[in-house]
Amino acid sequence: MKNLLKSRNTGLIVVLILLLIVAGIVTPTMFGVQSLISMLQNNSVYALLAVGEMCVILTGGIDISIASQLAFVGIVCTSLSCSNPTVPGIVFVLLGLVLGALCGGLNGFLVGKLKMVPMICTLGTMYIFRGLAFVVSGGEWWFAVAYSDTYRNWAIARVLGLPAIIWIAIIVMIIAGFFQSYTTAGRRIYAIGTSRESAAVAGVNEGTVTLYAYIICGALTGLAGMLYTANYAIGYYGMAEGFEMTAIAICVLGGVSITGGKGRMDGVAIGVLIMAVVTYFISMIPGMSVWQKALQGAIIIVAVAINYFTERSAAKQALKERGALI
């Protein structure tokens, strides 16, 4: 199975390289250093969202409220920062994390402790957070002039030649990968996603694990919300609509099983890159931007279908091995 996962990753890398080649032939300008950097910069937010969403999907749940959470936390950070320009940006980074964790905690409590269906629960909170975003913003829009430099620098300041937001995304992914493979808390997420009954027998508290998986997702989403507003220097209640789907798409593409328990960070990292190249590629071709939504939808369907077929062929393989025993 590990080999299969590995081969899946190699398959993804092949797809990535092919995409790059096609993109390079069609739009050679894409390979400028600056344009590649801006591609990564614009997709770092997706990376953060995908890592958070991954934690939730690994438990066998789903969180479709993250885009609304992002908007809500982003608006709170923006409005506070704009009215208090002297407060250093780090405060808002922490605020974003905490506020996001609270949003995630609400989802986690409803799903983990009150046993609501994740889809319906986050559907409801999606409404709530989006509404809250509007209430907090009062319908106002913020633009670049209103932002303080310390706030924006968290996303755009160059560190070793790369914008800070890229570094943050990379660091988060490394920490998350480490968390998922080397800590008890991380492994418990996999355990409950794999088999809830076995987890119960092994004395794992499913509700609590679910709760903190959603909290992690929320915290990362909150961070992404702060960084999103810092990166684009724009904040309004309707921002980031549909981002949850992109995050889910990246996870599915990266080999995270939608039923939980399976998936690795390296796959998700490649998924982020593929999604980045695809969207960037589309935006480079004139008149293609309208294709974005349809293509994304198609990519997810195909990815899920491929997951389904690989899993089925693996099951068949296992049966064949058993057949040899008879």
Binding site: M1, K2, Y190, S198, A202, R322, I326
Partner: protein, 501 residues
Amino acid sequence: MSDYILELNDVVKTFGGVRALNGVHFQLKKGEIHALMGENGAGKSTFIKVITGVHQPDSGLMTLEGEKITFRNTSDSAKMGIAAIYQHVTSFPDLTVTENIFMGQEIKNKFGVYDWKAMHQRAKELIEPLSKEIDVKKPMGTLSVAAQQLVEIAKALSRDARILIMDEPTASLTRNECLELYRITKELRDKGVSIIFITHRFEDMYELASRVTVFRDSTYVGTWDVDGITNQDLVKAMVGRELTAMYPEKTAKIGDVVLEVDNISKEGYFKNISFNVRRGEILALTGLVGAGRTEVCQTIYGIMTPDTGEIRLEGQKVNIKSPIDALKLGIGLLPENRQTEGLVNELPIYQNVSSATMNQFVKKGQLDVDAEMENAIALCKKIQLKANDITAPPSSLSGGNQQKVVVAKMLSSEQKVLIMDEPTKGIDVGAKYSIYEIMNDLACRGYAIIMVSSEMPEVLGVADRIVVLKGGRVTGQFDSMDNVTQEMILEASLKEKGGDK
């Protein structure tokens, strides 16, 4: 008192009004292998879950080395050196063997972080004496059942278990795997581990145990030295009465062959299965759990399709692709798990009964509920269903009566062949008798019945002919019931692979 490492006294456990354990006793000596026996549904599995702290007993006393003890959860019992290998392997199929072994007590370095290298190393050390073929980095789900059991044993060893509970570990193992397991179990005993070995195979008990305790219908029957009890007495203790009186007299006349199964195979499940069943006959399909009996039935019923071979109904070759085809042809199946496969617990009894035949109650495009109910009531009366109200959901009934609802459902359409997969699983003795009566009655009315059962006495008492499966192959067939004994069937069901090639 310190003679006993573990003692349980008068333990009661109920689940929503059903008594799963009704005042049971148990005493385990240090360093002994103690067999725990009983029929399906006797409460053995619940009992070990109480010992390991998965369930908390409602009342009763548990003492460990003479000291009263309560476990809040499984990690409490693990800390006291109690480990269990459950019947339905409770592993994490997507996680690696190593992680399964160390679940709950991972090796960590000084920063509190998993030390995978050390864990893999230690896992290898634990597994190697048991089996050389298991790769500890592979996901658990890719291993065979026997290998998974060995991993569970390694897991128990990793925790320095003083008490090891094994729940029917031999149920789905080959003969060689069994012998290997016996060897390992004895080694553990010699190291001073006390072992509770749950089984319903006499062979396991004679091979390993020094003492045996029997449960029946959630109650404690007794404890004996293995040397001091005869087979008959033990069977009597397990079953509760003399075998002869348990089954109704057979009165059906046996006619022509109705269903013929010719050389069907399905990769991964069974190979070259052939048998036939005649009108008015009860054919028993027996063998151990996992022998492929259920899969054969599912294939006849169209849940699965065979890779090769053919099925003939009254001499005609039939192509059954789904249960819809099977029902049209007159083949019915009483599924093994009535809760998940036979009943819709949220819907009233009459809707359950008519779920396979509702088309016949359509009048002017509308379901005629009155006719539907009338029909259901007539059927339920015929099989003496004990229920107050036909609109109540089946979840309000006892296990035996739930089974009757499924039987009524199967009888609601005209059928020639009725397959009954473990028809008496988990229902009480009285209800069993009435199910047998129904079967007998159906046979008299010309049904051909295939009964799947793993309970030897039942097979001997009810069937007209017996086919024994083992590892997906037919390993024995008894065309006449004269002189057939439990031992003969058991021998056939334990035959090594390729035994009758």
